[in-house]
Amino acid sequence: METIAQMFTLPLLLISFRYATPLILAALGGVFNERSGVINIALEGMMLFGAFAAVYGSGVTGNPWIGVLYSIGAGLAFALILAIVCVTFKADQIVVATGINIFASGLTIYFLQVLYGVAGTSPRAPRLPSIRILGMRYNPITLIAVALVPIVWFILFKTPWGLRIRSIGEHPSAADTLGINVNRYRFICVLISGALAGLAGAHLSIGEFSAFVREMSQGRGFIALAAMIFGKWHPVGAFGAALLFGYAEAISIRVDFAFIPSELIRAIPYVLTIIVLAGFIGKAIPPKAIGKPYFKGED
């Protein structure tokens, strides 16, 4: 009983938002690119590189906000690779994204060595200020993430621009006939997802912490991908799923369970995603054209 009471305390629910922040941001990014028909399993690498760039930018300028800009730039840079190689040159999205993840892991450790002469943890850099809400400290990125949810929803579902993105993901050649430049939209959507994943990285390194640690994204890019699927490619759904997964992380760290090992609780998001994807509870159906490069004049 005591365990159950612990599971639902207000601080625990509030702190879930902090754990959920990178998931919300990267999942929103994922919603953009997947709705446009591009699969992005490189969110992980973009987040990792963003985390590093944030610390670098913050450390060099002494201003954590510049660090945030660096993280967005870093995410954009990696997204540019994915966009050019996969959208423009139509190479395989899974393969290139895997390359980006490996690249991110190698590049960040390389920079740690070259710039700071360390292999594990960077020197400390100024972190973002924290804001107290309901007695819980949040860094501004958490607030940005939550505020972005209705904005992304509005863009995707209430603007012509959003309608075009969604139509491209479902039936690119039909969209093309209507004069929509399929690959330009996809290019932009991939860049947006990179920017958001990079920002998610800043939350990890200079939001919740004040240094970069190698491999600090720890699979969160993939959990964000899971949250996006669990939320059925919808920004509000993705937000809900990200919160749920953030909560799962929070309880696995902060609540001591007598009957389930905390390591197994951390696996819950992944198991849930498989269950939803397989359609055991409310089937998650991806956009139809997902993962397929678009060639004009062919189908």
Binding site: A91, I94, Y110, G219, F222, A267, A278, G291
Partner: protein, 377 residues
């Protein structure tokens, strides 16, 4: 893509195709190494020294060459784990997880099963690894075949479930002492290493066998299994009906279905074999390399395997060659670190190889397309 057709072309045409593939692969590696120079210069080091160290540390001597083969072994297996389902049109990103459950099963059986004679114990541990890996391939296979769940996502999720289950929970629950690993396996479960060959009764008296008796050499018998697996896959894919069905499903699943091939069966079978092969990679790491299952022993081998399969053009023999190349990069990276150059440059080069292979593939496709257009006009 066009393998079903190329089987009909004459031997000369096939040879030219192979040479073109090889040319593109080598070209990608050369560009990756050239771009790598920028990263070496940025680190304030001499590219010449760096690549010299890479060469010396990987194929500069017999001993390092054997260690390169040792590094290549798990990569060859995880490369196969991607390639076989790929032939059936599936993307198995789950090599990492399949390797982990295989390694854990092998490490577990290797320590906790006692009193079994040597040969039998190793065999049992290997079989456990194969079974665990196969199970980890079976799940996404079934979900894909019967529920249409996208295998890329399910295998990614299963990777993380495997990490939680084995590295986090499994080690925490079954370790003895403070090390983030299972206890060291029994001697009877250790996979034979090449440098122990000279001490064997009959084999040890063979000529040249002392060439393998090098201290610090970690090459073990999983490498031989990897070569056997390459032969098995080649035979399976191109000499059996099952292989034909597999390629037919990958070529056009609905056409294959009309031709009386069960795509469900084929999908599941390819994923199960892939999982088993990745499980073998884990068995080799646990029983041959580390003599335990430990945190970090996967070291991205599953993901690097994707690059290996890509570079090896998803052909079993190509994958062996690509695996040895990537093994050489990792082994040579150590020497680079010794002379003070960040070994992560190797990881960067590996990622660059992926970008260039993937990009060049499209360039080739584009050129072919242009030529077809020219012919049509």
């Amino acid at each position: 893509m066009s393998e079903l057709q190329t089987t009909k072309t004459d031997a000369g045409g096939r040879l030219i195709n192979i040479l073109i593939e090889l040319g593109f692969a080598l070209f990608s590696i050369v560009i990756a190494l050239l771009v790598g120079i920028a990263f070496i210069l940025l680190a304030g080091e001499s590219p010449l020294d760096a690549y010299h160290a890479l060469y010396i540390g990987s194929i500069g001597s017999w001993r390092e060459f054997l260690n390169t083969l040792w590094r290549a072994t798990p990569l060859i297996f995880t490369g196969f784990a991607l390639a076989l389902p790929f032939k059936a049109g599936l993307f198995n990103i789950g090599g990492e997880g399949q390797l982990l459950v295989g390694g854990f099963a092998a490490g577990f059986v290797g320590f906790y099963f006692t009193g079994i004679p040597g040969g039998l114990h190793v065999a049992l541990a290997i079989i456990a690894a194969i079974a665990a890996g196969a199970l980890w391939g079976l799940i996404p296979g079934i979900l894909k075949a019967y529920k249409g769940a996208h295998e890329v996502i399910t295998t990614i999720m299963l990777n993380y479930i495997a990490i939680q289950l084995t590295i986090r929970y499994g080690i925490e629950r079954y370790r003895i002492g403070g090390r983030q690993a299972l206890p060291t396996i029994q001697d009877s479960a250790k996979l034979l290493r090449f440098n122990d060959l000279a001490e064997l009764p009959v084999v040890g008296s063979l000529p040249f066998i002392e060439a393998f008796a090098l201290p610090g050499l970690r090459l073990h018998f999983n490498f031989i299994l990897a070569l056997l697996a390459a032969l098995f896959l080649w035979y399976l894919l191109w000499k059996t009906t099952t292989g034909y069905e597999l390629r037919a499903v990958g070529f056009n699943a609905s056409a294959a279905e009309y031709g009386g091939i069960s795509s469900k069966k084929t999908i599941i079978l390819s994923m199960v074999i892939a999982g088993a092969l990745a499980g073998l990679a884990g068995a080799g790491e646990a029983l041959g390399t580390h003599h335990t299952f430990m945190s970090g022993m996967d070291a991205g081998l599953g993901f690097t395997g994707i690059a290996v399969a890509l570079l090896g053009r998803n052909h079993p023999f190509g994958i062996v060659a690509a695996g040895i190349l990537f093994g050489a990069l990792s082994q040579g990276g150590l020497e680079m670190q010794f002379v003070g150059i960040p070994s992560e440059i190797v990881t960067i080069i590996q990622a660059l190889v992926i970008f260039f292979v993937a990009g060049l593939q499209m360039l080739k496709w584009f050129l072919l397309k242009q030529r077809e257009k020219g012919e049509a006009e």
